[in-house]
Every structure is written in structure tokens, then in C-alpha cells.
Amino acid sequence: MSDIQYGRIIKDGLWEQNVVFAQMLALCPLMAVTTSGTNGLGMGLASTAVLVCANVLVSLIRKVVSAQVRIPVFIVLIATLVTIVDLAMNAWLHELYKVLGLFIALIVVNCAILGRSESFAVKNGVAASAVDGLAMGLGFTGALVLLGLVREFLGAGTLFAQASQLLGPSFAFLEVQVPGYGGALLMILPPGAFAALGFLLAGKRIIDRKLAEREAASAEPAAA
């Protein structure tokens, strides 16, 4: 397996096969925690940590575990990792932990993580799986932060509010407050999450189409 294209894996994770914008997975935590950019960032990083470790572990044991029992084995592995992340966040990021609450524990059933184990880690080497986990995780984090920021900006008129409390004092520089804007409460509520996600998905499709057009335009003279 020397022909692994790391560039391809990274590109897939961040954009082409993005967990949210392309695969439409993990929508439950996406909708629930993205009431602010800070929450999205915390949730995304926690998921990324689990995703990378899960991919590495699954890739390590992929030749030992038989196909019939693989799902329970993967789940146990992921659950162990999530418990570690859960306890770690409770210890070191307690404020954020209180905000995200149950959704940290629910990373266990995040379909994106089991999905990557099933579709990538079980078929590929350790290094490639680690890169895939990282790229997918960062793609997921990007989606969470983007949706969180859009909702927070429209709904409360702030960006990364309380980042210094939730993530640590060094993140205070992220905080932005739009003066004189009360915010549209609906964007913080669930309907706002669906509406905002819909517009973001439409936006991704428009960008994809433009990219494809440009590629076709540049490929044509080369072929001729």
C-alpha cells in the first residue's frame, strides 16, 4: 500500500467527503451544540480526538478481528475513547463540559466515527487511517464552527462568545461583539439550525459547481 495519496485523503476529509456538507452524517450533535462558535469548536475538537484515536486503533486490530464481530469491537473501542475524552474534558475544560453535557458522551453513537472505522480504517494502514481521522475530524470541526458562527452571529450578534471562559483565557482574542444588535432568537433555536444548515449546503453546492466549471474550462484547451 505504497500508493496511498495523502493529499486525496486530506482533501476528501476537509471538503469533498466532508462529514456534514457531503455525507450529511452526525447531524444530531451538529444541530444540538452549534448555538455558538465556541461550543462548535469544543465539540469538534473532542470528536476529532476520538476520531483519530478510533481510526488508529481500528486500523491496528483490523487483521485480528473477524468480520462477524467487528461492529461490537469497534463500538467498545470508541466508547472507551469517548469515556476518556469525557473525563478529560470534565477535568480540564469543566465550563465547556457543562455546556456540551450529554453530547460529549453521545460521541459514541456519532455515526461519522463508526462510519470512518467501517469505510476507511478497516481497509487501510495505521498512518493513512490517522490522517483520514484527522482530516475528517477537522472537516467536521470546520462545519461545526461555521454553523455555530453563523447561528451565533445572526442569533445573538456575537462571535465566539465566552471563548475565554469555556476554552481558556488564551482564547479571549476570538470574542467579537456586534454593537447594537439584539439578535434573532430563532437562529439559536432548532429551526434556525435547520435553516442555516440548508443555506450552507446550498452554498457548498454552488461552490462545487463553480469549481467544476472552472476545471472543465481549464481542461478543455489542454485536451485540444
Binding site: 434573532a184 432568537l185 430563532l186 433555536l189 435553516a195 440548508g198
Partner: protein, 361 residues
């Protein structure tokens, strides 16, 4: 020789055309809204006119934008069916008369883009666009959406002239307290929450008024004018009586029973009928062709549901007014209602079996 089933002759075109069209229906509904609208301008002055104009303008603008983005080939034809104007008009009627300009713009965006065009345009929307926008605005901006100006002819303060009205509209200046007033439903809810009996509370509270001399949304207060508009629509057969009557009955019957049992806790049927958006909802919202059931039986169930839910929300809910919420909930029920109340197919009975054809016909 000819079998009994084939007695009908094929008629060649051109067939007779009734001349009806989407734009004519929309125009008639607008005509029916006109008296209550003009009266609203008189009640609430220039700010109400600005709000009305900008809401319609923003609905039309977002309609044009959506149609352009979707690449609709017949932008003009789709635009001039008048549905965007009507949506904006209905939305404006349900807004507080002195709401600032951005409420109109955001409302237009929500109604047209999220409420209608996302689903595919006129005829495809699941929910009534005007009500979607009304609810979204109320949930998003509770403060400006619950600021009720008392009708100017009742106010002790002088009516704002054109320029100061424009300033009220554009800069969202705080409305002087002396000009605001509670709505009857809002007043009843607050007083009940404070533990005060309705009999005592309403003694000093806002009065009922058939002619709209009460605080409320810009186009909802004059029950009698809305009723006239509704009757005009009934006479011109734009709407049928089923849904409106069912809505009114759905509110009035439980209200009358509850009021008879405990007048200190429940408002009377008359108060319910003359308050809030009920009249407008019954005649102009519940009769929307797109979002209401197809059959008359279905429309009666739909209307009763709206009425009952409105009464339940008003009496037990967190918001004082519930017509918009009730309409949206019943809009969601419409596909289910349509599934159970299907129209009879021509030549078949209600269960879908072919009708018996007499042998010697």
C-alpha cells in the same frame, strides 16, 4: 350499439373558459383586504402605511431574487400572479402597526425565501408563508413584535405627521409609553398570571370592539371590515364557507363552554372572536388553497383544528395569541387530512368501487 359507458361525446376545443386565473383570485383577495387595510391606515397613521408598503415591496423583491436565482424562465409571469404581493399584504396585516422597517424586510425574506420558494414556489409550500414569517418574527424579536400602539383616534397624544412617522419607522425610536396599550388577550394573560380574576381584570382592561377601536395588529382589529371582505370572497366564490365557519366554531364553542363553567378563568366567546388574528385567520389564512385540505370535509376538520388549537394556546399557552401557531400546526396536518378525506372519484363511490351502471340505460 354503443355501450352504456361510452355515451359521452368528445367535444373538440376550444372549450369554454371561465376566465378565472391565479392573478384574478389574488386580485379579489386583495380587494377584500382593502377596506380593513385603509381603515388600519386611518387608525394607526403613516407608520402603518410605511410598514405595509415595505413588507409588500420586500416580498416582491425577494420573489424576484429567488426566481432569478432559480433560473425560472418566466420571471415576469410568475411575479405578476400577485401571490407575493398578497403574502406581503397578509403578513403586514398581522404585524404591530408601528413595527420598524427591518421587521418588514426580514419578514419578507422569511415568508418568500424560507416559507415559499425553498419548497418550489407557489403551490408547493407546506406552510402558509405569511404565518411562517409571522411566527418566526415573533419568536425572534419578541419585543418589537409585541409593542401595540393604541389606535390614534383614541390617543391623547397628537398624531405623528409624515416626517416624524418616517423617523419612527426608520430609526425605530422608542414609542412613547402613553401611546402603547395592552391587547385584550395580552392583558387577560398577564392579569391571570398575577392571580387576578378575569372579572376584576377586564373591568379596567381594554374594551372589546367590533370596529377595531382596540390595540392590536395593523390589519386585524376591525372585525366587521374583515368580515365584509370575507363575505365578498364567499359571494365571488373565491372561498367556500367550510373552513372559516369551522375556525370560528372551533374557537367559539370551547370558549363558550369554558366561560360558562368558570368565567373568572376563561374569556367569553365574544372576546375570543373579536380578538387577535382570528377573523383574518378564518377568512384569509385558513382558506389558502395551497396549505388547506382539498375536500370540504377536510376543510371543516382543518378549520375546527385551527379554532380549537387557537383557543387552547390562548387559554393555556405561553403566548397570549395563537392563531398563527394553530395555522402552522394544522398546515402540517393537511397531508394527513387529505389522505383520509379523499374526493370521490368520478364514476366511483366513496370507497373507490365502480358505480353500478344500469343495464338498460
Amino acid at each position: 350499439m354503443t355501450p352504456a359507458t361510452l355515451t359521452a361525446q368528445t367535444v373538440a376545443s376550444p372549450h369554454a373558459h371561465g376566465g378565472n386565473s391565479v392573478s384574478r383570485t389574488m386580485f379579489r383577495v386583495q380587494l377584500a383586504l382593502l377596506p380593513a387595510t385603509l381603515y388600519g391606515f386611518w387608525l394607526y397613521g403613516w407608520p402603518a402605511f410605511f410598514l405595509w408598503a415595505l413588507t409588500i415591496l420586500s416580498c416582491v423583491a425577494f420573489e424576484v431574487l429567488s426566481l432569478k436565482l432559480m433560473g425560472t424562465p418566466r420571471v415576469k409571469a410568475t411575479l405578476f400572479d400577485g401571490s407575493a404581493v398578497l403574502t406581503g399584504w397578509l403578513l403586514a396585516m398581522t404585524l404591530p402597526p408601528w413595527a420598524p422597517w427591518w421587521v418588514a424586510v426580514v419578514g419578507g425574506f422569511i415568508a418568500i425565501v424560507i416559507g415559499k420558494q425553498v419548497f418550489g414556489g407557489l403551490g408547493q409550500n407546506v406552510f402558509n408563508p405569511a404565518m411562517v414569517a409571522r411566527v418566526a418574527l415573533l419568536v425572534s424579536f419578541p419585543l418589537p413584535l409585541t409593542l401595540w400602539v393604541a389606535p390614534l383616534p383614541m390617543s391623547t397624544l397628537p398624531t405623528p405627521d409624515f416626517v416624524s412617522s418616517l423617523r419612527i419607522f426608520l430609526t425605530s425610536l422608542p414609542v412613547p409609553d402613553a401611546m402603547t396599550s395592552a391587547t385584550l388577550l395580552g392583558h387577560a394573560k398577564t392579569e391571570l398570571a398575577r392571580g387576578i380574576d378575569l372579572a376584576t381584570a377586564l373591568h379596567a382592561g381594554p374594551d372589546l370592539s367590533w370596529i377595531g377601536m382596540r390595540a392590536g395588529s395593523f390589519g386585524e382589529s376591525a372585525a366587521i371590515l374583515i368580515l365584509c371582505g370575507g363575505l365578498y370572497l364567499l359571494i365571488t366564490r373565491v372561498i367556500t364557507w367550510h373552513a372559516p365557519l369551522a375556525v370560528l366554531a372551533g374557537v367559539a364553542i370551547p370558549a363558550a363552554i369554558a366561560h360558562a363553567v368558570d368565567p373568572g378563568r376563561f374569556l367569553s366567546a365574544e372576546a375570543h372572536l373579536l380578538s387577535g388574528a382570528l377573523m383574518l385567520g378564518a377568512f384569509f389564512i385558513a382558506t389558502d388553497y395551497v396549505t388547506s385540505p382539498n375536500t370540504t370535509t377536510g376543510q371543516i376538520i382543518f378549520g375546527l383544528g385551527i379554532g380549537l388549537l387557537t383557543w387552547v394556546i390562548r387559554s393555556f399557552g405561553g403566548y397570549p395569541e395563537g392563531v398563527a401557531f394553530a395555522v402552522l400546526l394544522m398546515n402540517a396536518m393537511t397531508p394527513v387530512i387529505d389522505r383520509f378525506c379523499k374526493p370521490r372519484i368520478l364514476g366511483r363511490d366513496r370507497k373507490g368501487k365502480p358505480l353500478d351502471i344500469p343495464e338498460n340505460a
